[in-house]
Amino acid sequence: MVPADLRYTKDHEWVRVEGDQATVGVTEFAAQQLGDVVFVDLPAVGKAVEQFATFGVVESVKAVSDLFAPIGGSVVEANAALADRPELVNSDPFGEGWMIRLKVADAAQLAGLLDPAAYEQLVASS
């Protein structure tokens, strides 16, 4: 079961929108697929991010994967805890392992994302 209050990309990112702010991370499925996360490269505060564009990189021991923004906006915070504890992405992907907070540019973009049921179906079929 994935959290019901989030929206998802087909690339396994999640987004939680509260007011005009959006918190972004990767799903538990993504974290499992990645394996042990050892490095997360996140954008600087103030950087503009477009929906579905690359906003950063997550690296496991073996692999490098791009991170795609579920929604457009400007970065207001990057999770500083991941610099020293990238393993939070594995241990708590929907919580302490969050990656960035955005000031949302256009909330209507949420309509282009998967709801929890659709995302679970995607995971089940992969």
């Binding site: 690296e59 496991s60 021991v61």
Partner: protein
């Protein structure tokens, strides 16, 4: 032209891996476990306790006959005639131009009987090339790659786990030695070799006995904390130990001298061997590149293929790189211009759109305490 893709081969242990929850990938044409619980956990188990590996994808080539020693000395860059029976050495098979076809371990099993172990990805090429090079000698090649399971137990507790199960005195079995014995009744060639930087053993058994050999070691090692380990941990372990990987540090465009492994080539041995003229020239002229260790001091992980620069000048390429589970910082091996390879030299690795600082450090990154 149509692409005909064969499904990957399965080792005799594939169902064991599945039952253990391994993630299986196609590696060199074989369906192999890349990880079970996780690469870092498996890596640490080998450094601190012991790990169990299925290496049945490797190539096992037996060479036998009155001229076996002479024939191998003419085919490889080493001189297997100098090995005592029951000992082994690291070797390579090179092309006439000195490029490396594969790196190998050669075991001397008898006065004119040898076992050559090749990498999975090169096993067929080495088998064919070696068979061709044995032509004219009284020596025959028996490729038993598909008849042999190879199970390794590696780590400081490996000897303690294996010792009580085997009728070979492990105390007398030196590093790079091999003996015939029985592991809980399973006939095996037991070698004190590995690719992890730890003490450990490799057990060559009949293909069908692979799962039994694995089960015996897993059961006996349970209380000692042995864990199954995949190719992911094997790669980080060998990288920390500064051991080259074919396809990364070694390839057909690289001579042993370019890879810092000129000492492996026995130019003084009697008789001609394939690649001799080119390798004598390579030694005389000096290497065109130098394999170095890098400690990434900036933020980022250097990976295979990333460019390395000295100031504004391109100097080489990262051959392997990862976050070191033991050391806790990113390490890499890189092939750079010989003048940029002194330990202490500061270089930059191009990681995506940034230059990230890295210091040349001596290899290996990790050496086990004696």
């Amino acid at each position: 032209m149509t692409d005909h893709v064969e499904p990957p081969r399965e080792t005799a242990l594939v169902d064991v891996h599945r039952a253990l929850g391994a993630r299986l990938i196609d590696f060199a044409g074989w369906l192999m476990p890349v990880q079970y619980a996780g690469i870092i956990e498996e890596h640490r188990a080998v450094r601190e306790r012991a790990g169990l590996f299925d290496l049945s994808h490797m190539g096992e080539l037996f060479v036998e006959g009155d001229d076996a020693g002479d024939a191998l000395a003419a085919a490889l860059v080493t001189d297997p005639r100098t090995l005592t029976v029951g000992r082994a050495h690291y070797s390579m098979i090179c092309a006439p131009d000195g490029g490396i076809i594969d790196d190998l371990i050669v075991y001397r099993l008898g006065s004119e009987r040898f076992l050559v172990v090749a990498n999975a990805g090169n096993a067929a090429v080495v088998s064919d090339e070696l068979a061709a090079r044995l032509g004219g000698w009284k020596a025959v090649l028996d490729d038993r790659s598909l008849a042999t399971s190879l199970v390794a137990i590696q780590g400081p507790r490996a000897a303690g786990i294996l010792g009580p199960l085997i009728d070979v005195d492990l105390g007398a079995l030196k590093y790079y030695a091999i003996a015939e014995g029985q592991v809980a009744g399973i006939p095996a060639l037991v070698a004190r070799t590995g690719y992890t930087g730890e003490d450990g053993f490799e057990l060559f058994v009949d293909w069908a006995r692979g799962p039994a050999a694995w089960a015996v070691l897993a059961d006996a090692g349970r209380s000692a904390g042995v864990v199954p380990c995949g190719l992911g941990a094997r790669d980080t372990l060998r990288l920390e130990a500064g051991m080259p990987l074919y396809g990364n540090e070694l390839d057909r465009q690289t001579t042993p001298f370019d890879a810092g492994l000129g000492r492996v080539v026995k130019l003084q041995k009697p008789g001609d061997f394939v690649g001799r003229a080119a390798l004598e020239r390579a030694e005389r002229e000096g290497p065109s590149k130098r394999l170095v260790g890098l400690r990434v001091t900036g933020r980022g992980i250097a990976r295979h293929g990333y460019h390395v620069v000295a100031g504004e000048r391109p100097t080489g390429v990262v051959t392997s790189g990862t976050q070191s589970p033991t050391l806790g910082y990113p390490i890499a091996m890189a092939s750079v211009a010989p003048g940029d390879g002194e330990p202490g030299t500061m270089l930059d690795v191009e990681i995506r759109d940034q230059r990230v600082a890295a210091e040349v450090v001596p290899l290996p990154f990790y050496k086990r305490s004696a």
